[in-house]
């Protein structure tokens, strides 16, 4: 009970801080422009939710309108410097969760170190076996140096996972993990568990939903960390052809990278760290693979490049193989979450999942009142779950991902834990198209977390413009430019469409019903106020 009260107080505190920042200050600044701006807001070029001032509640009209009107008439001053840093030092990005209780953390250090110990001894046993076999057959083995490091970045990342987010934005372990994935020696390569489960077979019971043909591999680092490698399949400037269904679209390595950065910028932190890397397909994959099935799919192409193809479907085909040049191949490396034995997860069908057939329609596509039934069904009938689904739909709409058939949660946190946004490689396929149906959860349920909306508002402002902070954030990846300019600009355009969808809801139902408090607990430190002052 006490904790709940504290939560309520904390939430209210955060909202007051945000109100002050978004309403009072901008109102003072933009008062003189108010009269002129009402018709200057063309939907595609400015950042407003126009006509919100007609709403009865001045509260919403202010926070949505005021900063935007100043953008429309007197462009916000952009005083140079890093927009990303400015964004991350903004009070909205410094709402801290209180000290975490042990049960709010996914893993305890002791438990994790035991798990790590088991991994290390398993490796040592296997190594010994290999060495014995090599001595018997007179083959010289490549020396693979493995280092036991109780301070390894991937361990610290796993330790940091809690019921609110996968990581703390300022956690140096995450930056170190990105660096490690970019540079660390790869000592092992194998199929992922998914691919192994398939054993090269295809699930053709559904006409159109094959699995495991994505050429993804599990790579092992020299400190026992693991990452999922997805190779480049498509050029950055290629758009998904109009005739492709979402479920057969390529998986894009750069979409995986960009999705991680966007998720971090939205402050969701529900995507595990992803880094780009040019992998040596021979030295860092083939030569460190012990799985014979995997070794068998490697070949040298007529152009003398090292290539490999996937087991399923393509077993007979090489035109859909990926090739290095002659050995180097771009790809994304996504950090593995803790193994399912130590941190079990549930995979839950997305209530707004699509029909994976040519012409089938799911109920949400034909029934405008679909959300009403979702709202009444467990686990969407209480708590945060539906709001989390709506966060996810906004995220997917921004990246253009139509393929979110399932989402995952950690069993440990029950229904109130975070949703994981895994597998984002089908985003960023078409920059020229905004697939409004992805926003269906938002537009049909007409609710959104206040904290999410506030951040989206912020990112719509020139001082923090989403495309600019994304460009800056992605510039830190070795595979820069990760996204082409049209894809970056599409983010701004889509953000506007999200805000307009919220606006339509507010106009219809009133803000109290639409903009919902969430359980994120803000800090009410004086630091926030100082920060605010510095930002203006």
């Amino acid at each position: 009970m006490r904790r709940d009260r504290f939560l309520l107080a904390a939430t209210l505190g955060a909202l007051f801080s945000a109100d002050f920042y978004f309403i009072l200050l901008p109102k003072l600044q933009s008062r003189r422009h108010r009269a002129a701006n009402s018709c200057s807001c063309s939907p595609d070029t400015n950042l407003s939710l126009p006509r919100l001032e007609t709403l009865a509640t001045p509260y919403l009209s202010n926070w949505t309108h005021a900063p935007l009107s100043s953008a429309a008439t007197t462009p916000e001053l952009d005083d140079g410097g890093s927009k990303l840093q400015r964004l991350f030092s903004h009070p909205l990005y410094n709402i801290q969760t209180p000290e975490l209780q042990p049960e709010e953390k996914l893993l305890q250090a002791k438990q994790l170190m035991e798990y790590y110990g088991r991994k290390v001894s398993h490796w040592e046993r296997r190594k010994k076996l290999f060495e014995e076999a090599a001595t018997l057959t007179n083959i010289s083995l490549m020396e693979q140096k493995m280092t036991y490091d109780p301070n390894a970045s991937w361990l610290r990342f796993h330790l940091g996972i809690n019921r609110y987010a996968l990581y703390d934005r300022d956690d140096p372990a995450v930056l170190q993990l990105l660096t490690d994935m970019q540079n660390m020696t790869i000592v092992g390569a194998d199929y992922t568990q998914d691919e192994k489960a398939l054993k090269g077979a295809c699930d053709c019971t559904q006409v159109v939903k094959p699995s495991g043909h994505h050429l993804k591999l599990a790579l092992k680092m020299s400190n026992f960390g693991k990452a999922m490698f997805k190779p480049m399949r498509q050029q950055r400037d290629e758009e998904t052809p109009g005739d492709f269904f979402y479920f057969v679209d390529f998986q894009r390595h750069n979409a995986e990278i960009a999705a991680f950065h966007l998720d971090r910028i939205l402050d969701f932190r529900r995507v595990p760290p992803v880094a780009g890397r040019r992998v040596n397909v021979s030295g860092e994959v083939l030569h460190v693979a012990h799985n014979e099935d995997l070794r068998a799919v490697f070949f040298t192409s007529p152009a003398n490049n090292t290539c490999f193809f996937a087991k399923c479907l393509y077993v007979c085909k090489t035109e859909y193989a990926v090739c290095g040049g002659p050995d180097l191949l771009e790809g994304s490396l996504s950090a593995y979450l803790p193994g399912l034995t130590v941190a079990p997860r549930l995979s839950i069908p997305n209530p707004w999942k699509r029909s994976y057939t040519f012409s089938g329609r799911e109920e949400w596509e034909v029934n405008p009142f679909y959300c009403d039934s979702v709202k009444q069904a467990y686990p969407y009938n209480s708590g945060n779950r539906l709001l989390n689904i709506i966060d996810m739909s906004i995220f997917d709409f921004l990246i253009g991902n139509m393929d979110r058939h399932h989402y995952e949660i950690f069993t440990k946190f029950g229904d109130e834990g975070l949703l994981l946004h895994l597998d984002n490689a089908r985003g960023f396929g078409k920059h020229s198209h905004d697939e409004m149906s992805i926003l269906a959860p938002l537009s049909q349920c007409c609710i959104i977390k206040r904290s999410t909306l506030l951040r989206l508002q912020l990112l719509a402002r020139p001082r923090f413009r989403l495309s600019d902070v994304m460009r800056e954030s992605l510039d830190g990846d070795p595979l820069r430019p990760v996204l082409t300019e049209p894809h970056l600009l599409a983010l701004d355009r889509r953000l506007q469409k999200v805000l307009r969808a919220v606006q339509r809801c507010v106009r219809r139902l009133g803000q109290d019903q639409v903009i919902t408090k969430d359980f994120t607990r803000p800090t009410a430190t004086p630091q926030s106020a100082t920060q605010r002052g510095n930002n203006r």
Copy 2:
């Protein structure tokens, strides 16, 4: 015995005519230029087999050198007009086979008309069944008008097939057949027999050789003619990626069309007529398909185009489907040969077939004396068969087709019949690369039919330049331009390489051993001489 003597006399006659035309006339014309031209012949820009004058036998040196030297120093006059017509009226293209004996024709009229009669009654029975079924289920059937026409172009094409060629170049039936394939109403669509045999299964026993994934369909015309439809899979200006193996390359509809034209220009006439057509995928394929399996692979894409995919391998995949725009789809229509029941054929492995594995090598690739063993083995140890294989390798080298694993012959004509050059869709993949290994039969066996060589020589001359006559010939197809300019120019470059390969053989072994008489029987009509006069 008598016929053999006649053949010998006829062959000698043809050679003397050619000699007169190629040696004496040019010699007279170019005598004054002889002194200056010996070092002006750079291999890539003129049409000579340089240094052949050093050969002992003046005969060869003359026919190869003289016309070419005139080209090098005083460019051959190109008096405008149709180069294609000029080519086809050249004496070399008017060597007629004598009156065909009945056993030299593939089919007798009576036999063919009986076959046709059976087809018509089969159709009528099926139609009746469909109508009955439609009445029972209250479905209205599309009226499909079929016309029994004993004078149909496809029938006349079939009747014209003989032991020397699939058709007579001047046969109006062939032109009519091309027109019919381009325009005639399509009344039926089904899988080809190949695809039906597969029943959607894949032969995955070999890692890399799938079958039946080419989306080819059998289309039936309103006069009971049949054509094989291969849809467009690749843009004209796309080159096959360097990492593709020949056996997984796309099949190109335009390669099928261009191969027919080239084969006709080389005067082989071993490729059945092929025409381009924009087919309405809905009206001319889906709506006239009664095979439920075929109907099931059609779907409407997200861009609202009508698409279909192949049964095998792709059963789960649509990204490799082909789509109309929204219904029209380019493709090639190849005339069917007579059914196997009336004209059985044998499919024989090409002695120079490649290894259909990633790294395997066939004997011919590693043994420079491979041809010696081929020459001693039946059926290559006598008659024309090996020379026909070499013709085929020259044809394949010109189109860049590495995928000739088998060839077919009509059983009726035994070992002396023509070789069929079916399935040329993997030609014209890379204009920038000349795959010299395709010429292995020529360069290893060092023999070539004199008639083939003479025609290649002719096509190397500016007055008849291969690229020009091909461009002109292809311009008659509705899908013009069928080939891009780089592909056309590659033909000239490759032709030079063929001639140089012959030259190397002659230098090594002498012309008598290399340039071989063949069984083609020329006419010795005075018309040829007149023609010759006109051409100069």
